[in-house]
């Protein structure tokens, strides 16, 4: 019974924790401008994160090694350092965006400028990262994140023309009449948001934090192969809601309030209240994940003690880095920079950093020194290789598309 409960809890928290500020903003923007025509990218992205998260989780369970440990071993100190700098910058950008997202969610409730809320959010995030148990952070915020399922209810209530939806699912439908360069740019951004590197840093480090063993492989796979795709349904529901409300009016999504507005239209005030809780949980949870991921990456590159599975004083350098990152993120946000703009930039830079994260995972997942009998089979290798090619294409295309479209302005 305890085992089934663990599986259920893991799946539910995986669903609730799947979406972060990058998904919320990008999905809504894509729905408003491209309707359902980029759905295939979301599906490809969900497939990719499932393939690589399963490998990273398997490595963590069998060899007790997290992703960044492997990056330096397999790429060497020089390329590993390059990867570290890139990953830290992207994860920090995402951390800034998530803290800004929490402040924006609270602004929806309190009507106080998000800039004034940011310092309080930063202190709250840091206190949670310092004092709260790892499993409590994951479970409480993951379960609260299930509130975002209200997007699915809202989509149903909005009652879009399903024949039109099916028509828009065709990648070439382009219902918003956008240029193909802009279409490709948002495709890369969606892919980057779905496969952002911090997700595997956090997932694999979480496995080490929770002391996964070979016995936990089944639960881990259930989280990945059931939880992540169901979490992806929330992403699709956000796209659908934005497509139903904004696409016919030609309105672009530029604020977090606009992301949640279709829920108010479809479900009313109660729906709006639920979606704000969902925004808070998703962004606060992701802020904790990204804050920890900054510490994980640095500690795993240099090899010093990390994690919440030891007392904070035993991992003092790790906690000092997390504190520093939180202060830095708050410092950037109180300058008045728009968190939505930071989010847009972070998802594109995520796409650029993807290959250097995923290649070492694929290689180690084949290494019998680490995985013994649990190393990749032919299916995992074939999928890993296909996704590696996609990841490289997205990475190479990101910057030229960003310049050509003036960050998606068209």
């Amino acid at each position: 019974m305890k085992r089934y409960f663990a599986v259920l809890l893991g799946v539910l928290t995986a669903i609730g924790g799947f979406v972060d500020i990058g998904d919320l903003v990008t999905d809504a923007q894509v729905g408003a401008r491209f309707g359902w025509s980029l759905t295939w990218v979301i599906l490809v992205g969900i497939g990719g994160i499932c393939v690589f998260a399963e490998m990273a989780g398997r490595i963590a369970a069998v060899s007790h090694r997290a992703t960044f440990d492997l990056v330096r071993e397999r790429l060497g100190p020089r390329v590993g350092m390059l990867n570290l700098v890139g990953s830290i910058l992207v994860t920090l950008l995402t951390f800034i965006a998530e803290i800004g997202g929490v402040a924006l969610a609270l602004q929806l409730v309190g009507s106080v400028s998000h800039v004034l809320i940011v310092p309080f959010v930063a202190v709250a995030v840091w206190l949670v990262l310092w004092r709260a148990k790892f499993s409590s952070i994951e479970n409480v915020l993951g379960l609260m994140g299930l509130a975002l399922l209200v997007f699915a209810v809202a989509l149903w209530q909005l009652g879009p023309d399903w024949n039109e939806v099916v028509h828009q699912l065709k990648p070439t439908s382009n219902p918003g009449g956008e240029s193909w360069q802009t279409y490709a740019y948002f495709g890369v951004a969606l892919f980057g948001a779905a496969m952002t590197p911090y997700e595997v840093f956090f997932f694999s480090s979480g496995g080490v934090e929770e002391r996964w063993t070979r016995k936990d492989l089944g639960v881990m796979r259930a989280n990945v192969f059931i939880g992540f795709p169901l979490g992806g349904l929330i992403a699709l529901a956000i796209v659908g809601c934005a497509a139903a409300v904004y696409l016919p009016q030609g309105i672009a999504v530029e604020t977090l309030g606009q992301v949640g507005l279709p829920v108010a239209v479809g479900v009313g005030k109660i729906g709006l209240a639920i979606v704000v809780v969902g925004f808070f949980a998703a962004t606060f949870g992701a802020a904790c994940e990204t804050g920890l991921s900054v510490g994980y990456s640095l500690a795993q590159y240099y090899g010093f003690q990390w994690g919440k599975f030891v007392r904070p004083k035993e991992a003092a350098r790790f906690h000092a880095i997390v504190l520093l990152a939180t202060v830095l993120a708050a410092g950037v946000l109180v300058t008045g920079v728009d968190p939505i703009m930071v989010t847009e930039v972070s998802v594109v830079f995520s796409a650029i950093a993807l290959p250097l994260t995923y290649l070492p995972i694929l290689v180690i997942a084949n290494d019998p020194d680490y995985l013994g009998e649990h190393r990749n089979g032919p299916v995992a290798n074939a999928l890993g290789l296909v996704y590696l090619v996609i990841v490289v294409i997205a990475s190479v295309a990101a910057i030229p598309l960003m310049i050509a479209t003036s960050t998606g302005q068209g």
């Binding site: 060899s63 007790h64 090694r65 440990d69 330096r72 071993e73 397999r74 790429l75 060497g76 100190p77 020089r78 390329v79 590993g80 350092m81 500690a299 590159y301 240099y302 090899g303 010093f304 003690q305 990390w306 030891v310 035993e314 694929l362 290689v363 084949n366 290494d367 019998p368 020194d369 680490y370 190393r375 990749n376 290798n381 890993g384 290789l385 590696l388």
Partner: protein, 226 residues
């Protein structure tokens, strides 16, 4: 792990104490030259003074200068921390110590740092190789070892892996025939098709002062795989 390659299996691995505490990464390894010319690993080196020189001649030198500037008054700023190789219990996907990690790292003393019989693996890796039978711009890619850290019996460098310096050497596909994503493995093997193993001994001279390894006609070059 019967025999192993220094770069592939030991450098950059996580060091874990007997108390399960994470200690550091293997940033470099100290080798000591015996009277017979053999090279024996004697200590694991840790910290920025061990890691930064491995970032390449130009970049590593610049980073080390910057690192010294952060505390110019310190006389030991360029000296790494070390753990004796005798404290290593075993090497798996991590390096396990026989003792708890807490307080185990000690600063290398100046006499030891200046000892001409000692050198670092990082100094040998990447050293240009002069040999008529190898492509130009060949370098030392790795050190092949006899024995294991913490194991019984001799533990020393037996041969050098030499060849053109191309990416992917640390992925391991150039020297194993294990299953993997076949196209990646085939590509890495093709990149390293000119890499060879040369046994230390007659005809092989490691001259760190001149910054080169000379391989004479009497030394035999063996293929890396098989």
């Amino acid at each position: 792990m019967p025999d192993y390659d220094m770069g592939l299996h030991l450098l950059d691995r996580q060091i874990v104490g007997a108390d399960d505490r994470l200690v550091a990464k293997v940033d470099d390894v100290e080798l000591t030259r015996g009277d017979d010319g053999s090279l024996t690993p004697t200590a694991i080196l840790v910290g920025a003074p061990a890691l930064l020189p491995r970032m390449g001649d130009r970049m590593g030198g610049w980073l080390m200068r910057m690192f010294r500037l952060t505390r110019e008054a310190a006389a030991d700023r360029d000296l790494p921390l070390l753990i004796g190789m005798d404290l290593v219990d075993r090497v798996e996907s991590e390096v396990r110590l026989t003792v708890p990690g807490h307080g185990r790292l000690q600063r290398m003393d100046r006499v030891r740092a200046d000892d001409r019989t000692r050198c670092r693996v990082g100094q040998i890796l990447g050293t240009p190789v002069v040999c008529d039978r190898l492509p130009r711009r060949s370098k030392v890619l790795d050190l092949r070892m006899l024995g294991t850290p913490g194991g019984a019996g001799p533990h020393r460098v037996t041969s050098l892996i030499v060849g053109p310096d191309r990416p992917g050497a640390l992925l391991g596909y150039d020297r194993r025939s294990e299953p993997g994503p076949a196209p990646v493995a085939a590509f890495v093997q093709w990149l390293h098709r000119h890499a060879r193993v040369v046994e230390l001994g007659r005809g092989v001279e490691i001259d760190l002062d001149a910054g080169e390894v000379r391989i004479g006609p009497e030394a035999s070059l063996l293929p890396l795989r098989g």
